[in-house]
Subunit: 196 residues, 2 copies
DNA sequence: GTCTATAGTTCGATAGAC
DNA sequence: GTCTATCGAACTATAGAC
C-alpha cells in the first residue's frame, strides 16, 4: 500500500489554503505545518512558492481537460442538446470534485504572478477551445462573435457555483439542467429570430 | 472649484490596486505613493488598511444598489421581459463604469478578513433581495428554489464579464441581450414544460 | 528528507516633529 | 495634514547539520 507522495500531500495542503484564504495570505509555514513538516523542508520538494502554485493550477486544468474528454468518450447522446447537457454536468462535477485545485482558476488566477500566468495560458486556451468547438457544433447558425459571448457567459454561470453550491441543499444535475435549458433555449430562439 | 477630497483619492488609488494585484499584495506604501503622500500619512485619514478596504467595498455595493433603483425609477417598460432586460443592462453598466470598486465584490470579497465581510453582508443581501424580487415577479410560476439558482447563475454570467469584456470589441448592450434572451427563454420554456 | 538558524526584505502601524 | 524614523512581526529563501 503506497503512501501518498510528499509532493502530492504538499500540493493538496497548498491548494486547500490558496483557495480558502488566498495565495498571498498563505505562508509556506502554514502549508508545511499542515503536512507535518517545517517550512525549510518544503524546498527539498519545490524550488519556490510560485512553483507550488503553478503545479497546482496545472493539475487543476488537467482535471478539467480530462473530464471533458471523458464525456466525449462515454457519450452516446443523439442530439446536440443532449451532448451539451452532458458536458455541463461533466464540467460541474469535475469542478466540484476537486474544488481546491479547480476553483483557483476562477478566484485567484487573475492576480497570479505574471510568470505563473504565462505557464498556464496554453493549457487554459486548450480547454476553452474544446468548449468553443462544442458550442459551434451545437449552434451552427450562431455567429462566431456570439458563440464567444455565450461560452464566456456559460463559464461565468457554471463557475460561479464554487461560491454558492451546497451539495447538501441541491444537486449539481438540477443546476446543470437549469443552465443548459437557459443557454440552449436562448440561443436557439435567437437563431430562429435571425432566420426570419 | 473644489478639489477631490484626500479620502476619496486614497480610496480610488486603493480600489485600483486591490482590483489589479489583490488586497494582500497591495501595500499602504504603494497606495500612498499613488496619491503623492507617504504611508504614515494615510493613518490621518483611515484607521487601518482594513478600513480602507471596507469603505471601498461599501461604496461599490452602494453604486450597484443606486443603479438598480435608478432603473426602477426611469423604467416605463410594459413587459416583465423588458424590465428584466433593463436591469441586466443597468447592472452591467454600473459594474463596468466603476470596475475598481465593484469588481472587488466578485474577485476578492470571498477571501476578505472576517471583520470586513461581516460589515458588508447586510448591504450585499439588500442588493440580492432586489434581484430575487425582480425575478419572482418576472417568473411567477417558477418555484422559489429555481429562482435562487437562476439569480445566482445570472449573477455569475453577468459578473464574469469583468474578466473578459472589452469595450473596444463589443457593446454591453449586445452582451445584455444575449444573456437576457438566455435566461428568459430558458425559464419560460421550463415553466411551460411544468404547466403541461 | 527533515531539521535549526538566520539572512534579507517588506509589511502595518505608531510616535513625534513641523 | 504630511513628514521622518522606527518598532515588531511576518515572510521567502538559503546554508549546513544530521
Amino acid at each position: 500500500m503506497a503512501v501518498v507522495a510528499p509532493k502530492q500531500r504538499l500540493m493538496d495542503a497548498a491548494a486547500e489554503l490558496f483557495s480558502s484564504i488566498g495565495y498571498a495570505e498563505t505562508s509556506l509555514r502554514h502549508i508545511a505545518s499542515n503536512v507535518g513538516i517545517k517550512a525549510g523542508s518544503v524546498y527539498y520538494h519545490f524550488e519556490s512558492k510560485d512553483e507550488i502554485y503553478t503545479d497546482v493550477l496545472l493539475a487543476g486544468m488537467d482535471l478539467m481537460i480530462d473530464g471533458f474528454q471523458a464525456v466525449e468518450t462515454d457519450s452516446n447522446s443523439t442530439s446536440m442538446r443532449e451532448t451539451l447537457a452532458e458536458h455541463v454536468v461533466g464540467h460541474l462535477k469535475v469542478l466540484h470534485a476537486n474544488l481546491a485545485y479547480t476553483s483557483l482558476h476562477v478566484t485567484t488566477f487573475r492576480t497570479a504572478p505574471a510568470a505563473v500566468r504565462r505557464q498556464l495560458v496554453p493549457r487554459r486556451d486548450e480547454y476553452e477551445a474544446m468548449w468553443t468547438a462544442l458550442l459551434r457544433a451545437a449552434l451552427p447558425n450562431t455567429p462566431v462573435s456570439e458563440i464567444s459571448i455565450l461560452r464566456l457567459a456559460l463559464f461565468g454561470a457554471m463557475n460561479s457555483s464554487i461560491d454558492w453550491f451546497d451539495a447538501g441543499r441541491g444537486s449539481l444535475e438540477e443546476f446543470a439542467e437549469v443552465i443548459t435549458d437557459a443557454f440552449w433555449a436562448g440561443a436557439t430562439e435567437r437563431q430562429q429570430r435571425v432566420a426570419q
